[in-house]
């Protein structure tokens, strides 16, 4: 399955990519802001998107809206701050499949991906 990683933090992007090594996934793109994220999404049509909420240019929720418009079957994992429960909830309402709260561990990430991929 194809994964797009969207996060304004390079460290987190790298962490996600590295931690996902055990899964049979193909990382098709990494984006640091919403605009690039949408561009890459349209190009690569990934199955899974990890999506940071707070980002420059276009924020995560708007990106989520766009993705849901293009393909509601896309499995979006929202990554948000611990305190932003409401945002996470509204993202899930919009169609995100799961979420992660920063900071997260490798185990948590794996957990979420197992849920998402049904493994």
């Amino acid at each position: 399955m194809k994964v797009l990683i969207v996060d304004d933090s390079e460290i987190i992007r790298e962490a996600i990519e590295k931690w996902l090594g055990d899964f049979n996934l193909e990382v098709v793109g990494r984006a640091g802001d919403g605009r690039k994220a949408l561009e890459l999404y349209k190009q690569a049509s990934p199955d899974i998107v990890t999506l940071d909420i707070t980002m420059p240019e276009i924020d995560g929720l708007s990106v989520l809206d766009e993705i849901m418009k293009i393909n509601p079957e896309t499995r979006v994992i929202i990554i948000s701050a611990l305190s932003a429960k409401e945002i996470a909830l509204s993202a899930l309402k919009k169609g995100a499949r799961s979420f992660l709260q920063k900071p997260f561990t490798k185990l948590e990430l794996e957990d979420v991906f197992r849920e998402i991929t049904g493994g």
Partner: protein, 883 residues
């Protein structure tokens, strides 16, 4: 003898008759009913002649025959007129009662003459065929016509109808008393009528059966069958003749009944034995109904008769065969079939018997009537038996069913008990559980089975069916509601893993305001959610609410306690140096002082002398401050100082109004707080010390301790060195109040000495004095009291400073002051508001202190005086009277 002769005479007569040629019926006794069947006493002649009726007509050429007799043996199928002549001989004399004659059944019509006179006629001899062919002829013989002892002739003019059944072909032939003959005739008919009634009753009985139970069609057919038979028999009786019914119509109905009778019975058997209607059976039904309508629409009797003979009756054989076949096939397994078979056999036997008897093959009683009665009765009994059998079966079944129902009911009751027990258990749990537990349906309505605690937690009643969001709206902010809605929606949707979603629970811990009494109560609630799947569908949310308020309050209390403990520690460090007895005294004194302040405030109400009030309060607060300072209670004396400053501020305030004193209240509250803490600490300390059995101090020791403490503190703070000499200090016994007052006075004066008398070590050095100053306190006894003398080796009273302060306060005129004697000026240090200290400090300097001393001394009737020498000493002498 007479008897014998009569009999022998009759005998003789009987033998004599043949001698006359014509055979005769000989009536020996008018009273006897004589049957002349089969006696060759009848003459018959084909053709018609009016003379034939006459007594005198010679009939010797006529054929001789006996009755009953149809004339076919003589005249073939002749349907015209024939005459019968019967000669009768009566005894001598006329009968007492009228005589009658019965002439059997004559087919079809007749006119009967007696000795040439018409005595009766039946049917219509001259018009078409059917009129009275089954009528029994019973006619009266008019007594007047009888020729006793002579030849009499009954002549019957008869029209025939059927071949082989024409003329007086059947039944009884009698002559005798008319009444006897008639009653004999009618009783037979009545007897038949009884059968008819029975058939009708049976018919109606089973008809009603059928009406009650439509599915048992055998009852309908049996009922119809019985009614038809009854009807038929009724029509066949002589009553139709008696009541002059239209013979033609009666016969039509009879034939119609005959066409249906057997098929009705076959139908009955088929339904009774649950024989399916095959095509063959249906054809039989149609074949049976066809003649019914043919007769109905046809007016020809001959046709009916032919139809009956050549169609209906042969069909009966087919039908009977079919019925018998149905019965025979069931003989083996069905008792009823066997019984019915026998019944039908007997019926058939009786019918055959009658046919044979009718044909005069042999002579026997007619059996069909009885056969039918037996037949119908038997079948009724069989049906009834079946009904009784069924009924008892049904009863058995009912009993069985009742047992089963009882059994089931028991099981049900047991199950209900179990359910109730389970419900009780659930109810108990819901009643006693400490959490609010409830179910939410898809529409977010609270289920009816929620724990009792829930109402308490939400402080709301009637929660069943209430909308959860509506309830939450009252408790949390509008923006939080959206999150709650989203969360629950997602939870119900079930797309996101429950475990993960729980991390976003916006109600994990919420603070809510719940109306309570006059205000609101703050509560902390924790919600947890579980999805409950029913038949794989996500239907309910199980919600658990925990009231975490106590936990939270405990947390807060712990935090408060920690803070308090820290404050206490600080206080403790201060207190630890102070003797607990002294502390106790301090607390007591201070409390009294504060109470006095509060009382004064409460008393003041709308007093206008606010400044005077404030001055009084100031003195009290100052005393408190002094005590605290003297004991080294920094926190406390700082607060007392704060109160002082407030009073100072208020005193100096222009346009002071009563309500401004609120600030004073606030600073007082501020002062009281640490006092309470000290109080409880002292309490605890003294508890501890009493356990440790520390010796009680004497009043003197307590006082001395307090003085030393104070002096060393003030000296330390002001950088002075002071020793204190208490050699000559001896107190008389006194009560607490006096001791407290004395303490106040001595401490104030000693404090004044340290602050204003003793110089700094430097100053003393410059003056050539030892660096350490000395304060000596002693007592001198007087007759009415005692003196307390406080002596210091300090700078003495500084008159200049007093003067300039007095002037600056504007209390005195400068010129006036200069005129005052030195003593007076010195005594001004006891005036309120004068303080010669340059800096206002915690321990002294507000000018209150000595003024309090003076006021107090004057209050108890004492005196205060002072003497001094500049740079050498100051000595206060206080006289305390003993009451």
């Amino acid at each position: 003898m007479k008897k014998y002769s009569l009999i022998s005479a009759a005998f003789l007569l009987a033998f004599i008759f043949p001698l006359y040629g014509a055979p005769s019926v000989i009536v020996k006794d008018y009273r006897k009913d004589l049957i002349f069947n089969n006696e060759k006493v009848v003459l018959i002649q084909k053709g018609d002649n009016p003379e034939y009726r006459e007594l005198s007509f010679d009939d010797s050429s006529w054929e001789k025959t006996s009755l009953p007799s149809d004339w076919s043996s003589f005249y073939g199928d002749w349907k015209g007129i024939c005459w019968y002549r019967i000669h009768v001989r009566f005894p001598s004399g006329l009968p007492e009662k009228g005589l009658g004659v019965r002439l059997g059944i004559i087919s079809d019509a007749d006119e009967t003459y007696f000795n040439g006179t018409l005595i009766g006629k039946s049917g219509s001899i001259d018009s078409p065929p059917v009129s009275a062919y089954d009528k029994i002829r019973v006619y009266e013989l008019p007594t007047a016509l009888i020729r006793p002892g002579e030849d009499n002739v009954i002549a019957m003019r008869v029209r025939g109808l059927f071949p082989g059944e024409s003329g007086a072909f059947s039944n009884d032939f009698r002559i005798g008393p008319y009444q006897d003959i008639f009653w004999n005739y009618i009783s037979k008919e009545i007897f038949d009528l009884i059968f008819v009634v029975i058939y009708f009753v049976v018919g109606v009985y089973f008809g009603l059966f059928f009406l009650r139970r439509r599915q048992d069609r055998e009852n309908l057919f049996f009922s119809l069958f019985c009614v038809m038979v009854g009807n038929y028999l009724l029509l066949r009786t002589q009553f139709k003749h008696l009541f002059n019914l239209d013979f033609y119509t009666v016969k039509k109905i009879e034939y119609m009944i005959l066409s249906l009778l057997v098929i009705l019975f076959i139908e009955f058997i088929m339904f009774y034995f649950k024989q399916k209607h095959r095509l063959y059976h249906k054809i039989l039904i149609v074949l049976s109904i066809i003649p019914f309508f043919m007769i109905l629409f046809s007016g020809s009797f001959i046709f009916w008769d032919k139809l009956n003979l050549w169609y209906i009756q042969p069909l009966w054989i087919v039908l009977a065969g079919t019925g018998i076949f149905i019965l025979i096939t069931r003989f083996g397994k069905n008792n009823d079939a066997r019984l019915m078979g026998y019944t039908i056999f007997i019926l058939l036997a009786s019918v055959i018997n009658d046919i044979l008897v009718t044909r005069n093959i042999y002579q026997f009683t007619r059996m069909t009537g009885y056969g039918f009665f037996f037949f119908i009765g038997s079948i009724a009994i069989i049906l009834d038996n079946k009904f009784v059998r069924l009924h008892s079966e049904v009863e058995d079944l009912n009993v069985n069913l009742e047992n089963r129902v009882e059994e089931k009911t028991e099981k049900l009751l047991y199950a209900m008990e179990e359910m109730e027990a389970a419900k009780r258990e659930t109810d108990n749990i819901l009643l006693n559980v400490q959490e609010g537990i409830f179910l939410l349906d898809k529409n977010l309505h609270i289920g009816p089975n929620h724990s009792s605690m829930l109402e308490l937690i939400f402080n709301k009643k009637d929660l069943s069916g209430a909308n959860f969001i509506d309830i939450m709206k009252d408790m949390i902010q509008a923006e939080e509601i959206t999150a709650v809605k989203d969360f629950i929606d997602l939870f119900i949707e079930g797309k996101v893993a429950e475990k993960r979603l729980m991390k976003l629970n916006p109600l994990q811990e919420i603070r809510i305001q719940i109306p309570d009494g006059f205000g609101f109560k703050e509560k902390y609630l924790r919600f947890s959610f579980n999805r409950i799947l029913e038949r794989g569908e996500n239907v309910f949310l199980l919600v658990t609410v925990q009231d975490a308020t106590e936990e939270k309050e405990l947390e807060k209390r712990i935090k408060d306690t920690e803070q308090k403990a820290q404050r206490e520690m600080e206080l403790l460090f201060e207190l630890i140096h102070i003797n607990p007895q002294i502390l106790k005294k301090f607390v007591k004194d201070t409390n009294n002082e504060i109470k006095r302040i509060e009382e004064n405030l409460e008393k003041a109400q709308f007093s206008t002398d606010l400044k005077g009030l404030l001055a009084g309060l100031y003195r009290s607060v100052h005393a408190i401050k002094g005590d605290a300072g003297q004991l080294g209670l920094e926190i406390f004396s700082q607060r007392a100082h704060g109160v002082e400053e407030t009073i100072q501020f208020l005193t100096e305030k222009k346009d002071l109004v009563a309500v401004d004193l609120i600030s004073l209240l606030y600073s007082l509250v501020h002062l009281k707080d640490p006092l309470k803490e000290i109080e409880s600490l002292v309490h605890r300390l003294s508890d501890y010390q009493s356990l440790a059995r520390v010796d009680e101090f004497t009043d003197r020791e307590i006082l001395i301790e307090a003085i030393i403490q104070m002096v060393s503190r003030v000296a330390g703070r002001e950088g002075k060195k002071v020793t204190i000499d208490l050699e000559g200090f001896h107190l008389p016994a006194m009560n607490d109040a006096s001791l407290s007052l004395l303490k106040k006075i001595i401490i104030q004066i000693a404090k004044n000495s340290v602050s204003h008398g003793i110089e700094t070590p430097n100053e003393r050095g410059e003056k050539g004095k030892p660096e350490t100053g000395k304060i000596a306190i002693r007592t001198e006894n007087r007759p009415d009291g005692y003196d307390i003398i406080v002596h210091d080796d300090g700078r003495g009273i500084q008159l200049d400073a007093i003067l300039s302060k007095a002037v600056s306060l504007g209390k005195y005129d400068e010129e006036e002051l200069k005129k005052l004697p030195r003593e007076k000026i010195a005594m001004m240090i006891f005036d309120s508001g004068l303080s010669t200290q340059h800096d206002v400090s915690i321990d002294s300097g507000r000018g209150v202190g000595l003024d309090i001393v003076k006021t107090e001394i004057q209050r108890i009737g004492g005196k205060i005086s002072l003497k001094y020498s500049p740079d050498r000493y100051t000595e206060f002498r206080i006289f305390i009277p003993i009451a």
